[in-house]
């Protein structure tokens, strides 16, 4: 196990090094001269040349990558062209709403999707099974921002149950915090939930056809004990794998959901950076979110032995 963990960590370091190289290449290939942008409209050629020397922009590509990577390792993701603030500061200011939104989406999604998948598999062919499958196909097909507008129209504009847009931090009170997050969380989690419900159903159906399930039923265990204690535990590995790989859907969804619901998080920061062509922010966000995605999938791989002790690395 330890050897496997070390091997995976080394592989993760290589993958992240490549992602960092890719992200740096984006900066390198970016059209325009960053020195001219920093110097402003009134700068002379000498001013621009001086900034070039100061920032090391005349150095060879690999030397510049080395300097940049060293800065990243020390937590320096560069400076925003538009606000002139460090990218790490900007991301730090916006991380709260994004983490709150993502965690709430995860809680709602996993709280509904896994039980629905289990029920659908245990009552295969019933109306609830068909309903779960229909919702799963619709969840895959309706883009999150389309669903977001339909949800706002129904629950905020017509029924007036929830706020249309905006974000309230936990310090402003628990009720406003939840009120502002509930609709975006459901919208963000629907595609992810559809995927997990479908995989849960498929994995459970596979397990429920096994002999040991029949044995458990024959010895008189209740349906709940058979489903949760015997079947779900053995169906956990594909479900957990999809929970990990599906995080990409949440990360992509956060960018759009925060835009529709005007939540001042990392997604909104990214969209603003795109509109202003603020490349250091786009790179910083890409690097950070990719790292989160890679680490989550690493943890998912590690969790296999917890769910199935037979798994040996």
């Amino acid at each position: 196990m330890l050897a496997y963990v070390v091997r995976r960590l080394v592989a993760t370091v290589f993958v992240m090094a490549f992602v960092a190289f890719f992200v740096f290449s984006l900066l390198y290939l970016t059209p325009g001269d960053p020195a001219a942008t920093i110097a402003g409209d009134l700068a002379t050629a000498d001013d621009i040349a001086r900034i070039h020397r100061q920032l090391g922009l005349d150095d060879p590509f690999l030397v510049r990558f080395g300097h940049w990577a060293w800065g990243v390792l020390q937590g320096d993701l560069g400076t925003s062209i538009f606000t002139n603030l460090p990218v790490t500061t900007l991301i730090g200011q916006r991380v709260g709403p994004t983490v709150s939104l993502t965690i709430m989406a995860l809680i709602i999604t996993l709280g509904f999707a896994i039980p629905l998948g289990v029920i659908a598999a245990s009552k295969v062919g019933s109306w609830i099974d068909r309903l779960v499958m229909v919702v799963a196909v619709l969840g895959f097909s309706v883009p999150s921002f389309v669903l977001a507008y339909f949800a706002i129209l129904c629950f905020s504009v017509w029924l007036d149950w929830l706020p249309v847009q905006g974000y309230a931090s936990l310090s402003e009170g628990f009720a406003p915090f939840i009120e502002h997050l509930i609709l975006p969380s459901i919208v963000l989690g629907l595609i992810y939930g559809a995927l997990i419900a479908r995989i849960t159903r498929a994995a459970m159906l596979e397990v429920l056809s096994q002999d040991y399930i029949r044995t458990a039923q024959a010895k008189g265990l209740t349906e709940g004990k058979v489903l949760v204690g015997h079947a779900l535990r053995n169906a956990a590995i594909p479900i957990v794998t999809v929970i990990g790989s599906g995080i990409a859907l949440l990360i992509g969804g956060v960018i759009v959901t925060e835009t529709v619901f005007a939540i001042p998080g990392i997604g909104r920061l990214t969209v603003d950076a795109i509109l202003r062509r603020d490349y250091p922010i786009i790179q910083g966000v890409t690097l950070i979110l990719s790292a989160v995605y890679v680490v989550i999938n690493l943890l998912v791989d590690m969790s296999y032995t917890f769910f199935d002790p037979r798994v040996r690395f």
Binding site: V19, S141, R198, T259
Partner: protein, 290 residues
């Protein structure tokens, strides 16, 4: 014999079509919807539309009526016409990405699955590309280039290639151990002939299913990119652009967003239904579970 086969063929074909419709009604719904969307995109100029780019400030923000079926936007452009022409953008992106993505991924997957020395290097690059969430990767790539349909197709294709390559590679890895491939190699069949005659045909079925899902994902990603301002030029009548323009007026004029949103969802649903049907037909064991 040939005559008998010719007589039987239409009967078998009719039977097959009827059987498919009976066993997979959702697939037939998907095919019908997709054909309707394709016809709408192709025949847009003949379906009572006007110039989708024609600006008319005096007619701005008109609600749906007998003159403007889906209303007009903030520039006075006809939303019905823009929605119909928008199908062209969505389908072009979806089909192009599915075509280029599968072709490139197939080539990479075939070669890396069969040539072990290349596998180590190329698949690590693919792994690294897969470690960036697709929408984020497409955004980062679009930030480098100017807004255009070609660049959108290119950016989304790059995000999809690693997944196809990995799928094809896994199929090739299992195929190369099969007796029929070993027999071909033992009989002295050349590298390219083995690859193209014995391996390639067996990768087509899973690839076809994957292509439909890529098509659906590409249409959504295009709409997301346009919606956040990183996709096609704003004046192009794509469904993502229309929703982005309409969002400021959404609370008072919801139709600005709902019509393009509904058409986008219907088209993606149609492609997904066709993809599910293909998967069920090609892998009946999996079909019973998924």
């Amino acid at each position: 014999m040939a005559l008998a086969a010719a007589e039987i063929a239409p009967v078998v074909q009719r039977h097959w079509l009827g059987e498919t419709a009976r066993r997979h009604p959702t697939v037939m719904i998907g095919v019908m919807l997709l054909l309707a969307m394709a016809a709408m995109a192709l025949l847009a100029p003949y379906l009572g539309t006007v110039d989708p780019l024609a600006v008319a400030p005096v007619k701005r923000l008109r609600p749906p009526s007998e003159f403007y079926w889906f209303g007009t936007d903030s520039y006075g452009r006809d939303i019905y016409s823009r929605t119909l022409y928008g199908a062209r953008v969505s389908l072009t992106v979806g089909l192009s990405v599915a075509m280029f993505g599968t072709a490139l991924g197939l080539a990479i997957g075939l070669v890396t699955g069969f040539v072990r020395r290349l596998d180590l290097v190329v698949m690590r690059v693919m792994d690294a590309l897969m470690s960036v969430p697709p929408v984020l990767l497409a955004i980062a790539l679009m930030a480098l280039t100017k807004a255009s349909l070609g660049n959108v197709v290119l950016a989304i294709t790059i995000t999809e290639v690693p997944r196809v390559a990995r799928l094809v590679r896994s199929v090739v890895l299992s195929l190369r151990e099969q007796p029929f491939v070993e027999a071909a190699v033992a009989a002295g069949t050349g590298f390219w002939r083995t690859l193209l005659r014995h391996i390639l045909p067996n990768t087509i079925a899973p690839l076809l299913v994957q292509a439909t899902y890529i098509c659906a994902a590409a249409m959504i990603t295009e709409a997301v990119l346009s919606f956040i301002g990183a996709g096609t030029s704003p004046e192009i009548p794509s469904w993502g652009n229309m929703m982005a323009e309409g969002r400021s007026y959404f609370q008072i004029k919801p139709y600005l967003v709902l019509f393009p949103g509904a058409f986008l969802s219907l088209t993606v649903l149609a492609v997904n239904l066709v993809g599910d049907g293909l998967r069920d037909a090609l892998d009946p064991r999996l079909a019973r579970r998924l």
